[in-house]
Symmetry: C2
Subunit: 310 residues, 2 copies
């Protein structure tokens, strides 16, 4: 059913290479892939979709072509949202690569395709855009088992149950976004001024925060208590940032690990600095964790979807 109504110009894009684009809210990454699928060139800039003015996507895409070459493009991420270029309707769970290929939106027919996000239609409704390409790319490449739990940390962390190589169910936790909000302008801002969400070398204070976040379900109270402990001399100011980061990640794990079945290994996929932090927290929680580079998984996914519409 794929590749009849919808297909690439000239039939097989990888015969001449193509460009994969991971286009998010605040950043954009483009990758030029050779006909054999290998990575030839790449670029990253801050032209996320929020920086593109109304009607500005064709020009923003031309800029990418000037940088990487005039090739067909496979895009994923928020570029397919209702704030992006063309909306690509969500594929429902369980979702695999075939469903993503069937649901592509084509802002330039035969030249530019946008991968749909994935939606969970249930009382615990949820959505993702961009992670699906990484998740299913990793599964297609055999980098993750067909059945497993994946943690994908980021602004909106995703915990994903994979079944039979498809995205079966998932849950988003706004951990990264809350960390940013607290650091930018909350009562905790001065305690977080020197803390980075992806600083893996945070040591013992981070681990204590994780343990507390795993134990307690009173996040908005625990956070304020950190400030009180600093004011009362019960916690060194220099440790507060790492402790708060651990507290947030511990809360995240409490929620996400509900998708675990038994004691299975958790695959932590994404940016290496972030996956290191979550893997450390998972091990502190008594879980086996394996890190996987999200960029590599994204390229696997873009190739696998492109092949399906050839």
């Amino acid at each position: 059913m794929f590749g009849r109504e919808r297909q690439w110009e000239n039939g097989v894009p990888w015969a001449d290479g193509f460009i994969a684009v991971d286009w998010g809210t605040t950043n954009r990454r483009g990758y030029l892939l050779a006909p054999d699928g290998s990575l030839v060139d790449e670029t990253e800039d801050d032209r996320g979709i929020l920086s593109v003015p109304a009607g500005g996507f064709p020009a923003a895409v031309e800029q990418l072509r000037r940088r990487l070459g005039d090739k067909p493009m496979m895009m994923a991420g928020m570029v397919g949202s209702n704030r992006g270029w063309v909306e690509a309707a969500y594929a429902p769970c369980p979702a695999g690569l075939d469903a993503l290929a069937a649901g592509l939106a084509w802002p330039e027919e035969g030249r530019v395709a946008i991968v749909p996000g994935v939606a969970q239609q249930a009382d615990d409704a949820d959505v993702m855009r961009g992670e699906e390409t990484q998740l299913l790319g990793a599964a297609a490449a055999g980098d993750v088992p067909a059945d497993c739990l994946v943690c994908h940390p980021g602004t909106h962390n995703k915990w994903v149950r994979m079944q039979g190589g498809r995205i079966a169910s998932f849950r988003t936790v706004m951990t990264g976004e809350l960390f940013s909000l607290l650091r930018e302008r909350s009562i905790l801002a001065d305690l977080l001024a020197d803390a980075a969400v992806d600083d893996a070398g945070e040591g013992e204070a981070f681990d204590r925060g994780v343990a507390e976040g795993l134990r307690s379900d009173a996040l908005l109270s625990d956070l304020f208590s950190v400030r009180a402990r600093v004011l009362l001399g019960r916690l060194p100011r220099a440790e507060a940032g790492a402790y708060i980061n651990g507290l947030l990640i511990g809360h995240d794990l409490r929620v996400g690990l509900r998708l675990a079945e038994g004691g299975d290994q958790v695959i932590v996929m994404g940016r290496p600095s972030l996956t290191a932090l979550f893997a450390r927290a998972l091990r502190a929680a008594g879980r086996d964790a394996r890190e996987l580079d999200g960029e590599r998984a994204f390229l696997h996914g873009a190739r696998a979807i492109a092949e399906r519409v050839a």
Copy 2:
């Protein structure tokens, strides 16, 4: 022991009236009280402590005197914090009016006193500044029982266990601050654009949010799910703000009601628009709730402390 080393000029301030000042982070309220304790005049402006430049408190106080008269002043709130005028060290729990009077800081000897905050020195460390004056004022006036649970909603909600007319223990939940952060600049901002934290007429969507917040301990996931439900057409966009507000308040109640003993009535003290919202949520949670005006309680407290140093 009070009123020997430290006392008002002329011995009895209320013989000629005095000014009570509730001086917070972003706002300031001044009240001129007559010798009989009755309210003569009042003023409110946005000269919270964060708007006062270094060394600027004497000038900011002069402005208050020009507005309300040249009287002795009793101040409470963040003006006594390490970012305020003069730091008034926290009184430890359990804290009563005598402890507050004994711990006054005097930026102008005999003329201006600042009420200390109250601290809970324990693993669940916590601090308050400003609420103590309301809480103990209400107790002194007989507006709350000597033993009760008080909910004081605000930027940093306080849940306070009163015992024997003193502040025995308490817990802060950052509900109001998180609501503001989410509305100002989060992924949920557009859903919250029309929502007010103190809009009590929010109806059924608010109540459903409260129920979910009481039930679930996955706040950072539940919040994101609201957005997903709107995107997927499972929740009308117009209801999302009220639902999120209810969700946050339900989470707040889950935490705060742990200080309840049996099914006792909860006193909700503070700004009337906010107390109405929390009282509604408490009743939805099956609790008896009684509202109390925080301003009236503050004036009771300021008077009672002033009397103790006369």
